[in-house]
């Protein structure tokens, strides 16, 4: 194999692109889980976002409209989950799975006419002289807006949870919905908002896959990205900064194995392709075996149904 064909600068730059879908989805899911809700439907919301974004971008010719539509579409889908789990008090695990199964079906239904089409390209930001910097310019200052948006969102979520009163209330609801209710906070409404935000983020992540990363529409194209996003939330112990780290680590592994495939590594393609999943499992094991810490970081009400009179 020819390792010299792998250019580290291109590698890092493409790492950021490869990580962005998962970063967005994981960040949204973290906010959802911080409010005490476990939504296993990330994969379904991502793929619906992917097709909504793709279809609207193709129809309008505007990638921006595509991203907006993806966020709205997935947020709408997440509202099904919100209604079922928050109003109808259904089991969150089962409902999340249903969301994923439904999302996969719905997306291939919506995407029938869009197989094999090229979407309008998402423009890179022109950061003037910054983009022309050697090495750094290529790595940091030559991406599209969504990459920077995702980084800003990490910062925003971090600050929101740490410094704002709304963030404090969100965390309180996730810690103990009974206590929050006793103090007069609208547990269900707050969780609705969090679930919607999570849906929008997953949708953006999905649209980034179909509009930038691949860029085209194929059925089942998320290929487990939503599940990996869920794993990254655990890896990150529900902290925004570490979501970034986890997503970029995962992006790094993906890009590296793709590059090794391209460079004709001696390892069979299938084994390289399964490496990101295996590494995700490995990371999960390491995180969960350091006991105590992880269990402290998890919101105490995570996955529990809330009914005010019970």
């Amino acid at each position: 194999m020819d390792l010299s064909s792998i250019n580290p600068v291109v590698l890092i730059a493409s790492l950021m692109v490869a990580s962005t879908p998962i970063l967005l989805a994981a960040l949204g899911e973290m906010v959802v889980e911080k409010s005490g809700v476990l939504n296993l439907g990330v994969e379904g919301m991502m793929i619906v976002g992917a097709i909504c974004g793709f279809a609207i971008a193709v129809e309008t010719g505007s990638p921006t409209m595509g991203f907006v539509a993806a966020a709205l579409g997935s947020a709408l889908l997440s509202m099904i989950f919100a209604v079922l789990t928050q109003l109808f008090l259904s089991n969150q695990v089962a409902t999340g799975l249903a969301l994923t199964l439904f999302g996969l079906g719905l997306s291939s239904l919506l995407g029938q006419g869009y197989v094999g089409i090229k979407p309008p390209s998402t423009p890179k930001m022109d950061l003037g002289p910054l983009s022309d910097l050697p090495v750094l310019g290529r790595i940091l200052f030559s991406h599209d807006l969504v990459v920077y948006f995702s980084l800003a969102l990490v910062l925003a979520v971090w600050a929101f949870l740490k410094f704002t009163r709304a963030g404090l209330i969100l965390r309180a609801v996730g810690e103990s919905h009974d206590a929050a209710h006793a103090l007069g906070y609208k547990v269900v409404a707050i969780r609705f908002a969090a679930i919607g935000f999570g849906g929008a983020c997953a949708g953006l992540g999905g649209a980034y896959l179909s509009l930038v990363r691949v860029p085209q529409w194929t059925e089942g194209m998320t290929a487990g990205a939503g599940w990996i996003a869920l794993a990254i939330v655990v890896f990150a112990s529900w902290r925004a900064g570490r979501i970034l780290l986890g997503a970029y680590l995962f992006g790094g592994v993906t890009v590296l194995q793709l590059n090794l495939q391209a460079a004709g590594a001696a390892i069979p393609v299938e084994y390289l392709s399964m490496s990101p999943y295996l590494i995700t499992i490995l990371v999960l094991v390491i995180m969960s075996s350091s006991r105590g810490r992880a269990s402290l970081a998890a919101p105490a009400s995570l996955g529990r149904s809330f009914h005010a009179s019970s």
């Binding site: 008090l89 259904s90 089991n91 439904f102 239904l109 059925e219 599940w227 299938e270």
Partner: protein, 361 residues
């Protein structure tokens, strides 16, 4: 203003009524979806639910019914044990694939020896063991490191799919297949074929296994201590520990049993209806079985009925695809919708609606 009120105890009546309600609601919502796709909803519903059983070509479809229902029931029975205990194996698709690979590998290893009495039982064993071992990965990680079994079992599906590709293109590829991916056809090899037991019924050994699994699961859950412990753990984990249940043992049992059953289903499929190990012989039974398990209310008999109903949507869906041009994905969305409605109406067993004044607390 309508509000929810918790029942003093779960309603038996509603637990039987809710799946029926969910099916009806899904037909209505699905009909709207089909109408939105420009099809006549009544015709589509009739094609899916009526024609395969009672229509003109029902003799052809009826056989298909058991072929599709067999693996769904077999997998869903295994899953339901874990779901009852709060142990979420959602990677049955992966265990199904590995069971198929292992079963097929054993069969192919003996090719072209003529000894069905030895080879076919060995294949069954290999399929079950393969699925079991694949499920042991999340089980052991859960018991040793407390790693989330939902994520691990699911991520292993993608690993299994890659393994399948590697097997279909490599180790198990038909040496006489002029380079095409995929193994020898197991159905055409006397010793390994999972043949139809009665002509035209679709009844093969996998369907027999599914019926046996239903009976065993029923006895386990209703008459045996282990089944009681499974139910107790799911309903009140702390009470289960108080009753002396060892949670780790249950994790291993539930994941192991569901893995073995999924592996069996995979083996029977690859030696029968599918015929060969190919890149995409798996059609998502492992995921649809999750819907079957819930639709059957995690009850063995319920799962039997749900499996048949879900098989009907597959067959009817295919019929609607060929005669009415309904997209295949519409059926997938339809099945997902069914699970949504089921979860939505499920609440009626534990809560009831009250019409009265608004209540804050």
């Amino acid at each position: 203003m309508i509000r929810l009120e918790r029942r003093r105890e779960p309603s038996r009546l509603w637990s039987y009524v809710t799946p029926v309600l969910a099916v009806i609601a899904t037909m209505i919502a699905g009909g709207l979806m089909f109408a939105a796709l420009g099809k006549d909803p009544f015709e589509v519903i009739r094609t899916i639910f009526w024609d395969p059983v009672l229509g003109e070509f029902a003799f052809y479809y009826r056989g298909q019914l058991l072929i599709k229902a067999g693996p769904l029931i077999l997998i869903a029975i295994g899953l339901s044990l874990g779901f009852r205990a709060g142990i979420w194996n959602i990677g049955a698709e992966g265990q199904y694939i590995i069971g198929a690979i292992c079963g097929a590998a054993v069969g192919l290893a003996f090719y072209p020896m003529d000894a069905r009495w030895l080879i076919f039982p060995l294949m069954i064993l290999a399929g079950a063991v393969g699925g079991f071992l694949w499920a042991m990965i999340p089980a052991i990680l859960k018991t040793r490191f407390n790693t989330n079994e939902i994520l691990v079992s699911l991520l292993l599906v993608y690993v299994a799919e890659q393994l399948l590709a590697s097997m279909a293109l490599g180790a198990l590829r038909n040496p006489e297949g002029s380079g095409f991916p995929g193994s020898r056809n197991l159905r055409r090899y006397e010793s390994s074929a999972n043949t139809e037991l009665f002509e035209g019924t679709g009844m093969h050994w996998g369907v027999v296994a599914a019926f046996i699994a239903v009976i065993f699961a029923y006895i386990l859950l209703n008459r045996h201590m282990l089944g009681y412990q499974i139910r107790l753990t799911g309903q009140a984990p702390r009470a289960a520990r108080f009753a002396g249940v060892r949670p780790n043992l249950l994790v291993v049992f539930c994941l192991g049993a569901s893995g073995a059953l999924a592996g069996l289903a995979g083996m029977f499929e690859v030696a029968g209806p599918a015929g060969q190990v190919s890149i995409d012989f798996n059609v998502g039974y492992g995921f649809t079985a999750i819907i079957v398990a819930f639709l059957g209310r995690l009850h063995p008999v319920g799962i039997l009925l749900a499996g048949l109903l879900m098989a009907l949507t597959y067959i009817g869906g295919e019929a609607a695809q060929s005669t009415l041009g309904l997209p295949a994905a519409a059926i997938q969305a339809f099945q997902g919708m069914l699970l949504f409605f089921l979860l939505a109406v499920d609440m009626l067993t534990n809560y009831r609606f009250r019409f009265g004044k608004r209540e804050v607390a």
